[in-house]
């Protein structure tokens, strides 16, 4: 179908965008890449009265590396993340995830911030943000606030963003030496949303797992860390045996819900198989 009627606004600055969001409150939606919002409008699942198109606000775009962190502007296209040398060097987890995000024509429009603000539970970027301990930067009429990824994702398509606020960037701590990553997902077709996916980050320095963050997506109503599994890894040898020994903990960590991909039991099984397979690919993990 076609999108329902709406009024269109294209602010040139963040201040103008925030003024529009404040004026139209719940009637307004932010239009970033539009690769999820527009299909939802075409399906008539979403029918905002006002669309605030932020695509011409240059300040929201770009990848910047500073001494302690890497900042991704909310409007940065997924294709630009995929091609960025800075991302490949500092956040290789995100570089590994990008080819799994939909298709090239979608990634040319889809944005980093749009994916995080939509908070689809099966999306890759929110899971990566959580695994990497990102801090989201949110602008509102009263100024900026920061919120950790772990507190940002609140549930199915729900985030800590309040009416009138705009996600402007995320700041990622630069990984210290010895940190490694793993990423993988199972999807029926390339580019589909994951049936189950895992994004992991942590240290394997000295042949030992430490500071492990293992995030599952497509399992719960939001990206979810596997706390018990992480504890089963931390402090133990970075080896396949440790991973296999810890997989049973996922029974306690994960309570998948049945969906059109399969039953809860199927999803739990897939999560374990995938986690075992993927974590063994981390640099520094002994066979």
């Amino acid at each position: 179908m076609k999108a329902p009627r709406f009024a269109y606004a294209r602010p040139a600055s963040l201040a103008e965008a925030l003024a529009l969001l404040a004026e139209h409150k719940g009637d307004a939606r932010v239009l970033a890449g539009g690769q999820s919002l527009v299909p939802m409008m075409n399906f008539r699942v979403a029918a905002p009265k006002v669309l605030v198109d932020i695509n011409r606000i240059a300040a929201l775009t770009g990848i910047k590396v500073s001494k302690n962190h890497l900042r991704i502007g909310a409007l940065t296209r997924q294709a630009d993340l995929e091609r960025s040398a800075d991302i490949a060097r500092h956040l290789p987890l995100i570089a590994a995830a990008m080819p799994h995000v939909a298709h090239p024509a979608i990634r040319n429009r889809g944005t980093f911030g749009g994916s995080c603000a939509l908070a689809d539970p099966a999306a890759e970027l929110p899971a990566c943000a959580l695994a990497l301990g990102a801090m989201f930067v949110i602008a509102g009429k009263k100024g900026e606030r920061r919120i950790a990824a772990g507190d940002f994702f609140k549930g199915l398509y729900a985030t800590a963003l309040k009416t009138g606020e705009l996600l402007v960037a995320a700041e990622f701590p630069l990984p210290k030496p010895g940190y490694a990553f793993a990423f993988g997902e199972l999807a029926r077709r390339h580019g589909d949303y994951a049936m189950v996916g895992v994004a992991a980050h942590g240290s394997t320095q000295g042949g030992k797992f430490t500071d492990m963050r293992v995030v599952f997506f497509g399992i719960a109503d939001r990206p979810q860390r596997a706390a018990q599994f992480e504890r089963a890894l931390d402090g133990r040898p970075a080896a396949a045996k440790t991973i296999e020994g810890g997989l049973g903990e996922l029974d306690a960590d994960l309570s998948p819900r049945a969906d059109f991909h399969g039953s809860a039991a199927t999803k739990r099984h897939l999560a374990k198989v995938l986690a075992g397979r993927v974590l063994k690919t981390m640099q520094g993990v002994a066979a």
Partner: protein, 169 residues
């Protein structure tokens, strides 16, 4: 103050021609090209970004015509299958598609050609697996894809044998 309106004035370049129109905000780019400009080579299939039939180029990059509003293309350069065909940019791909029988009904073909050209620009020598992966967002219900992959691979090989490499970004 920023304008907030259900009708938007746009000026853009389509296939190198300047175009000015007043459009409803809700009109998507694919429908704008088809109904306003009568460029009906851009097909509309699923209208939610899955099938790839509406693939066009905006400022040099392929996008879904059904997931972008015409209002958003204001100031942009849009290329459609008609433009790529007239400029002979995809002549070789078109011939290869005919030779390998890479289309039957032709509904997906404009979008597939758009995507194939984008792939070969960035990666002049893709593997068959890579071609399939890149085209995973373009559905074809006739060919089973085999002949489409054959055609694209043949063009890549022909270009390589002439010593051409893809244009750099």
């Amino acid at each position: 103050m920023t304008d907030v309106s259900e009708s938007v004035e746009i000026a853009l370049t389509v296939n190198t021609e300047r175009v000015k129109r007043s459009v409803p905000a809700r009109l998507n780019l694919a429908d704008f090209l088809r109904y306003e400009l009568e460029l009906t080579g851009t097909h509309v299939g699923c209208e939610h970004g899955v099938c790839g039939a509406c693939t066009v180029r905006v400022d040099g990059e392929i996008v879904r015509g059904c997931l972008m509003f015409a209002a958003q293309a204001d100031g942009c350069a849009v290329d459609t299958i008609e433009g790529l065909s007239d400029s002979r940019e995809i002549e070789e791909l078109q011939s290869a598609f005919v030779l390998t029988n890479a289309l039957q009904c032709g509904f997906c073909t404009p979008g597939v050609l758009m995507a194939a050209q984008a792939l070969l620009r960035d990666e002049p020598n893709p593997s068959r697996e890579r071609i399939r992966e890149y085209l995973s967002g373009n559905y074809c219900r006739c060919t089973g894809y085999q002949s489409i992959v054959d055609a694209i691979e043949a063009v890549a090989k022909a270009r390589a044998s002439r010593g051409e490499s893809g244009s750099t970004r």
